[in-house]
Symmetry: C2
Subunit: 346 residues, 2 copies
């Protein structure tokens, strides 16, 4: 995962992705690089940040930017060059709507994901970073921006602030604002980190925060099926069936996530607020019924605000907010329809 | 609240509530007392515990025991003798189904609520405590046991273990088992306390636990209406609209709750598991659609298991699990029907 691996430094990324001149890379091959840029942040002035990116797929093919949750990164799926599994492995593969043989798939590490920027980060800042990155890579326009969760928020900002940089947007499990209940849930996760930090137990705090987040990402339906065993009494304390799973989820997360990165990106979700009418590109909103963080009513409000440019697709999944990581076939079918449908009113 | 007020000690509570001999207390008057008993706990051997009780209402009238959530206590509603507000003030009042002019309303502090018992406590233990308390007060049989949340679990255990001690049961927002998702949620609250206890920040831990619990007691619907203001940046940190409310909820709770009491009663909910077929009295199950802790599917499973003895009433409320504290008129109407309906098959 890129947060712990040093990025391959590419001092001249532009040479690798000229607009039309370079020989085609082999299909399925991928390139990584990074670019240092000065970014004017909405809440924290001008900051020098490094944008780490990866692109895979057929040279010359249209570019789709894929952006995930706050824990996602530039490595979307395995390739010959970078064979490790990506964070959305099954959705960027041969035969899928995002097939590296037919498109180039671009992704980047969010501003703040390296933990070096300890300041409020807005989703508008991420969108500005995307525009700068596209300049650096000489990509005038994306065929599409596909955003899941936090990525959907960034995509909405991009479509509002830099509408000429994308033909269309697919916003999965994200809306025009953080819902107040979800915001409260995240604020308490940040308080868990703060409680840990009180006593130099930063990692325990982050682990607990992640465990609480897991409950918001999943549903009672899934927990009911997976963790129906009776509780045990261990060393005089009650231990419920899901605790092994939660322990593992917390430990795995703290091993790869800088505390500051998590705090600032968690905050960033709550800073997100955009007028749907300001989104100026055709947008497919994918909502998951049962998502505990993004209620269907907010997705409906977003689509209403989009007017003729918006369309809504609703999925019912026991995985709730995490459906995009789990319901590969169904999400792929929605993507195919969203990316290839010509019926959009521009 | 009785957890911080010393209970009025009544060495001989039996003299106050003989089966039929004493002169009637004035309507609306109330008596408190406590009794020390030896209780065989399911998971912690025999323990000496003090049962603190309060009863109000017309002498000679039939007795209804009212039991609430783990933070409830023996003071249900104000009376001439104890004028402070009770925890379910509006439901035990003149003109209500539970009218002190027509019934005696009994309540007690849960075993463990004083924080002196640091051991796993089962809902079966609480039911056994109720039976012992009824013996001490010479109440052979309750007209009804009305339990909300944790009180519903205790009522189900009483109806299974001591069916002759109650004519009927009303179980509101509680089922035959802790749902695995709700159990995970509570386990993480206990972890927040443990994180605080790492370095003597017990109260901060309990406060955070309570704040997390508040999210499970309420709904996104309510938060969406109350806390829709945009976030602020305070001292470089994002602060969302619900945080003032959550701060207050945490502070108020730690001021009145011993940490050990909370931990052991929270565990107790997760230890709860009962075979609905073992419940041997007519039971009205009241479920709230939108309750994040007790899914409707569990209430339905409970009622199915109760067979001819069970009936289900469903309420839709933006207050979720806390509906019983908020939807006074609607709960009262359900109580009236449950307590006075003669249609139950015994």
């Amino acid at each position: 995962m890129s947060l712990v691996e040093p990025a391959v430094s590419t001092p001249e990324p532009l040479q690798r992705f000229p607009v039309s001149a370079e020989p085609a890379a082999p299909a399925g091959d991928a390139v990584r690089g990074s670019v240092e840029v000065e970014l004017a942040l909405r809440h924290a002035g001008s900051q020098r940040v490094r944008l780490a990116w990866e692109i895979q797929g057929a040279a010359e093919a249209p570019v789709v930017l894929v952006a995930g949750g706050i824990s996602a990164h530039r490595h979307v799926a395995s390739s010959a060059t970078f064979p490790e599994r990506g964070w959305v492995q099954g959705l960027a593969a041969a035969g899928r709507a995002l097939d590296p043989a037919h498109c180039r798939i671009l992704a980047f590490d969010y501003v703040g994901a390296d933990g070096r920027l300890d300041a409020p980060i807005d989703t508008a800042d991420q969108a500005d970073a995307v525009a700068v990155l596209l300049d650096a890579l000489r990509i005038p326009r994306l065929q599409a921006f596909v955003g899941y969760s936090y990525g959907a928020l960034v995509g909405l900002q991009l479509a509002a602030r830099h509408p000429r940089r994308l033909e269309r947007l697919v916003a999965v499990s994200g809306a025009h604002r953080a819902h107040p209940y979800a915001a409260a849930w995240r604020a308490l996760q940040r308080r868990a980190v703060a409680l840990g930090q009180l006593q130099c137990a930063d990692l325990q705090g982050l682990s607990l925060a992640r465990q609480f987040a897991m409950l918001s990402y999943r549903t009672e339906e899934e927990f009911g099926e997976r963790f129906d065993a009776p509780p045990e009494i261990v060393n005089g304390r009650v231990r419920v069936a899901a605790e092994d799973y939660l322990d593992a989820a917390g430990a795995q997360y703290v091993a790869r996530t800088p505390v500051t990165a998590w705090l600032r990106l968690s905050e960033s979700i709550d800073l997100h607020r955009i007028d749907p009418a300001a989104v100026r590109v055709p947008t497919t909103v994918v909502a998951v019924e049962g998502d505990r963080l993004v209620p269907l009513s907010d997705s409906v409000a977003l689509v209403e605000g989009l007017g003729r440019r918006g369309r809504l697709r609703v999925l019912r999944s026991p995985y709730g907010h995490d459906a995009f990581l789990k319901e590969t076939d169904r999400i792929d079918a929605l993507l195919r329809s969203a990316l290839h449908n010509e019926g959009d009113a521009a």
